[in-house]
Symmetry: C2
Subunit: 387 residues, 2 copies
């Protein structure tokens, strides 16, 4: 008898360090959960009604790998309206979440022996997808500044790339840092990647959630041409409060879209048909919803900043985008243990900084997408423990 | 300037040969489409209502990677009721379709240098998933018998395995062949795989669709123990008419479930939350629905057999399971061209045999899951062209 084996590189992949905390805290009553990247209000009714109407119409059959035509059109219209970008459906593929978009893109671009340079600290799943495909992730960390903000060392980024590098992964606005890349920075990276034949995987799922008053963060939707080596990943999760729906899209050059479309067939065939109709409602009827959401997140960001930044042990920059406070705490060396303790003592669920890479240790991530009264209550419970 | 590259093994993957026919026939009016593996009736109302109620309750948040607890319980109950199998939730992971289950399983089991032995002719996507992960698929073809049925040469199967072989892929009842493995055959394969440390990936999505009067086809649900190297793939698509929902599950040893759960996080995080509630309704309220469906498919199988088997050019065995007639046609050498011609001349959409591997050339696949009046009309149009 021999034991059938599981691939060692899959067994070696680290599980989520956030889940370590949530599992340890599963039985604590009255928890206010700010550990995942989502709020506490369900998807808006007009989106749910869009999916329900599709169910009533019998939209329950197989659909095209690339996505249903009305959704491709709605994405194209949304990018024209929101970004003034002309992007036809030959450059769009609908995916079953931003994560699914990242995994399928990496399947198309990374094979064993390839490396991917990742700008961190970052939500760790893209890194794991690279490792699962046998690639080597290389971390380049944003540098924390004295005011708590983050800065990219461009030379360090470029120096991390060599002839094995197939991909640079960038997430702006960033999870967990809230870092927002400038247009100039995005252009410099694009010039470098054009020259070197390296793909940019630009995760722009928080692209609409910025506090500068701009309609969106600087974006490759406006900076990259149709044939540039850029894959923009988007998701319905954050801007339309649709985390549980698992729906997203990519924008990429047509030749890569053709490969992603093919690989979609071999991964999931297509995202759920009537879920895609919910996406049509979100895009076509959701502009005001996003405006309201960003307004609320801005107030939430202020509330968190005002509560935490003055604490002597805390270092926190004013968030520029996304919906996380990723604060450093003097003397913190085991963020998982502290998050477990905070859950026990204060019934507030937070994510340990080490979940976002070794450079995140000594920090805690708080997601402020919850409704304001709940957030306020969480801060009241939390502040005494951070003093 | 350098061009950023896409992985050659992904570019080399063949696209679907069925889609070649469907794309060429897109503008033909009044087509009766029997080319995909689905019927023409939407998902039953009680399942759609289950998902709609979940939407109304606000089940739109992130969920556990492994699937929501009520669905894990419903799967366990269903397997007890339908198969008399005791399978706890430590051996179940919910997936976003059977395809997604196959892809994630292959991610866990196949790396470059590994081979997978595939019993064909077979729906080609599992083969493509093996290739996408850098593995080598090896085909072992069922032998067509004089009566049109299929037979597995067990020695040929075992001889195809060597020390690189990590996996045997089996699909019984089979798409496109309708072949149903006997319990004795499944046991022989299991004994071999236990001895050699080879995984069995048993695609049982048609497991309930058999015409012998038995409640289910011979199945590893009843034959494999909790620690046996067996992964059973199932799907809601076929038995509950939920193709567009993208929902399925695996049953596997706990150690593999842990790996699949982890990789689910890096592929899709989890299947759509309220879609899973539709799955709960399907399982808990759907037993009568399945019985009625199988009864109808049995009549459809008879109708197709009686119409096509007597034709001099046609060789077709009486289908034992699944819902396809995979008939040989004397003198046929280009099934793609013939399917295009049939679409043009008779407005009936069929799948070319070569889509299921080289051993499928000379054949055509007809899916008889459509409602009986539509199927009858399709046969009336089709028979004159096959004479």
């Amino acid at each position: 008898m021999s034991e059938a084996v599981i691939c060692p590189n899959i067994l070696d992949l680290p599980g989520s360090r956030i889940r370590v905390v949530t599992r340890a805290s599963a039985d604590i009553p009255n928890m206010i959960k700010l550990w995942f990247g989502e709020g506490d209000e369900p998807t808006p009714v007009f989106v749910r009604e869009g999916a329900k109407a599709a169910l009533d119409r019998g939209e329950t059959f197989y659909a095209a790998n690339r996505g249903i035509a009305p959704l491709l059109q709605a994405i194209s219209d949304y990018l024209k309206r929101g970004y003034d970008a002309e992007i036809g459906s030959d450059r769009i593929v609908v995916t079953a979440s931003g994560m699914n978009a990242i995994m399928i893109t990496i399947q198309c671009l990374i094979e064993p022996g390839d490396s991917a340079v990742i700008i961190g600290p970052l939500w760790p799943n893209g890194r794991s997808a690279v490792r699962a495909m046998g690639g080597e992730p290389r971390d380049v960390y944003l540098q924390p500044q004295e005011d708590g903000r983050w800065k990219l060392d461009m030379q360090q980024l470029f120096d991390a790339c060599d002839e094995t590098t197939k991909l640079i992964m960038i997430n702006s606005p960033g999870n967990p840092t809230g870092w927002v890349a400038t247009e100039e920075e995005l252009k410099q990276i694009l010039d470098f990647c054009r020259e070197r034949g390296i793909w940019i995987l630009s995760d722009e799922v928080y692209g609409r959630i910025v506090y500068s008053g701009a309609k969106h963060a600087p974006s490759y939707y406006t900076l990259a041409g149709p044939e540039d080596p850029v894959v923009i990943v988007n998701s319905f999760s954050k801007s339309w409060s649709m985390t549980g729906w698992r729906l997203g899209w990519i924008v990429a050059p047509p030749r890569l879209c053709t490969a992603v479309e093919k690989m979609t067939e071999f991964n999931i065939s297509h995202p759920t048909t009537f879920v895609q109709w919910g996406g049509v409602s979100a895009l076509n009827e959701g502009d005001d919803y996003i405006d309201g959401l960003v307004e609320r997140y801005k107030r939430a960001a202020d509330m968190v900043y005002q509560a935490l930044a003055p604490l002597p042990r805390v270092t926190l920059g004013r968030p520029e985008g996304a919906f996380y406070a990723f604060f450093a705490l003097d003397g913190l060396t085991d963020s998982v243990e502290l998050c477990k303790e905070i859950a026990r003592e204060a019934q507030v669920g937070l994510a340990p900084g080490v979940a976002f890479g070794p450079a995140g240790e000594g920090r805690i991530r708080l997601c402020y997408a919850a409704s304001l009264p709940k957030l306020s209550q969480a801060l009241e419970r939390l502040v005494p423990l951070l003093k």
